[in-house]
Amino acid sequence: MFPPLQDLYRIGPEIVLCVFGMLIMLIDPFVPAGRKRSMGWLGFAGTLVALASLRWAFLNRGSAYSDLLRMDTFSLFVHGIVISVAAIAILGSFDYLDNEKIQRGEYYALLLFATAGMGILAGANELVTAFVGLEMSSISTYILAGFRRTELKSNESSLKYFLLGSFATAFFLYGIALTYGATRSTRFDVISNALSSHAAGALLILGLGLIFVGLGFKVVAAPFQIYTPDVYEGAPTPVTAVLASGPKAAAFAVMLRIFYTAFGSTSHIWFWAIWVSAVLTMCIGNFAALVQSNVKRLLAYSSIAHAGYILVAFAAASEIGVAAVLFYLAAYAAMTLGAFLIVAYVGGTGERRLDISDYAGLGTSQPWIAACFSLFLLSLLGLPATAGFLGKFYAFSAALDQRLVWLVVIAAINSVIGAYYYLKVVVSMYFWEPNKEWAPLPLHAPMFIALLLTAAGTIYLGVLPDRVMQWALASARSLH
């Protein structure tokens, strides 16, 4: 009747996050305008506690709440990613929010709620629960995207994100409805049983298609990547950092669950959709990025491209493939978070310095920042001994393992095309003459720690990736 105690452990991280979110909401009004930073620290503490709570979750792995939710290794892995992303994002947001004069508690609360939503998404074992989790994360990110209310671009980004997001969600929802209609249930295992008993009917497949539309939107798979550049460019940069790493990871996680566990037996059908989408995503992302001069937007395109690479591993539709996707998500989270945080840092008040030319001479004026940024860029580029390379390496090998040679070749060539624009930024940082009116910005502790963590992660995953790979593999195993 009443859910057992383990269930609480199993949603421990979410509980923690929500509790801290609400705490912030409660305390915020009583904090004087100048001291709002403390809310941020509170939020940071929340993420740390959530990370710690993963331990209990881990000890009490299993399904929770009449199997609507599963706290398995897979879910733990994704939790790890999204919560760390939130933690680092909070660290990276302090100065930004101060500069923008929008240092408010709600920001952190929303971030925590969003993270909780992603956590639900990672563990969901039932479509409607997934839907609710999805909405939790999306709606809070809609708001966060528009957090610079006075800024037209921020409004626009928020609006576009919101409209298109809910549009896609509607598709997702209708997909759920059709699936329900076809299988009398929305639980993944039931669906997969139904599929194993008799072949998929048009209704179910239609449902799957619509679900793909909805999730494809969240994981920015072409042609649903369309909104990404605008939204990422307009949103406050730390938020963009989160958007690019967290929700994407969560969405991929739920997509994995749905496509592998629920619809695993129809892989021959959805494989091609993934294949085509992967190719489109990579090509659009990379080619369009070639001509960008706005670094923030450039990174947005690059995130599209990387979604493409992840889809390559996804298309492998194998255990290793899942592991590769997870590993890539972790690696990508680390590097893209770092990159966007540096964009936020360099952008300065009002995000004025976003153009490549603004980075000219950074190598001399702020060598460490430049070195850090180059590290992230090279990692995004896929240079060996960085996280990005291992991610690609693992993904490609997973895909090749299923003999997806052409897909991998296309991906490989794409990654070289990508090299051009990443290097373009490096070029401006090191090879161009420093522009005169550049005043080196102060680097405060939180941002410094954030960068340190991301950089460390990037290198760690690049040099000693084995442990994380083992986790990813274990998570992949835990899916079935």
């Binding site: 809609y142 209310r149 409209l163 509607a170 605008d230």
Partner: protein, 100 residues
């Protein structure tokens, strides 16, 4: 006695109309309305199915959908208001600062 299929087809039609509206409308508010229309179509489908299967799950889902829709409406309208306030226009095609 009405065949369930009728309901489903109706919901499909409504959903499609919602899609059409989403693409067709220019006024942000009405665009959002067509999303609501789509959600309603989903609800109809849920209810119909749950009736067909003699289950309650579908109806529970409807409940959730409605709540979510409400929440979305609240946030969405807030966003729309901000945009409208800052732009003095509700035409979605005027919102084109971010491009290329």
């Amino acid at each position: 006695m009405v065949p369930i299929s009728y309901y489903i087809i109706l919901s499909a039609v409504l959903f499609g109309l919602g899609v059409v509206g989403f693409v067709f409308k220019r006024n942000i508010i009405t665009i959002f309305m067509s999303i609501e229309l789509m959600l309603n179509a989903v609800n109809l489908a849920f209810v119909a199915f749950s009736r067909e299967f003699n289950q309650l799950d579908g109806m529970i889902f409807v409940f959730f959908v409605i709540v979510v829709a409400a929440a979305e409406a609240a946030v969405g309208l807030a966003i729309i208001m901000v945009v409208a306030r800052n732009r003095k226009s509700l035409n979605v095609e005027d919102v084109n600062l971010l491009k290329f």
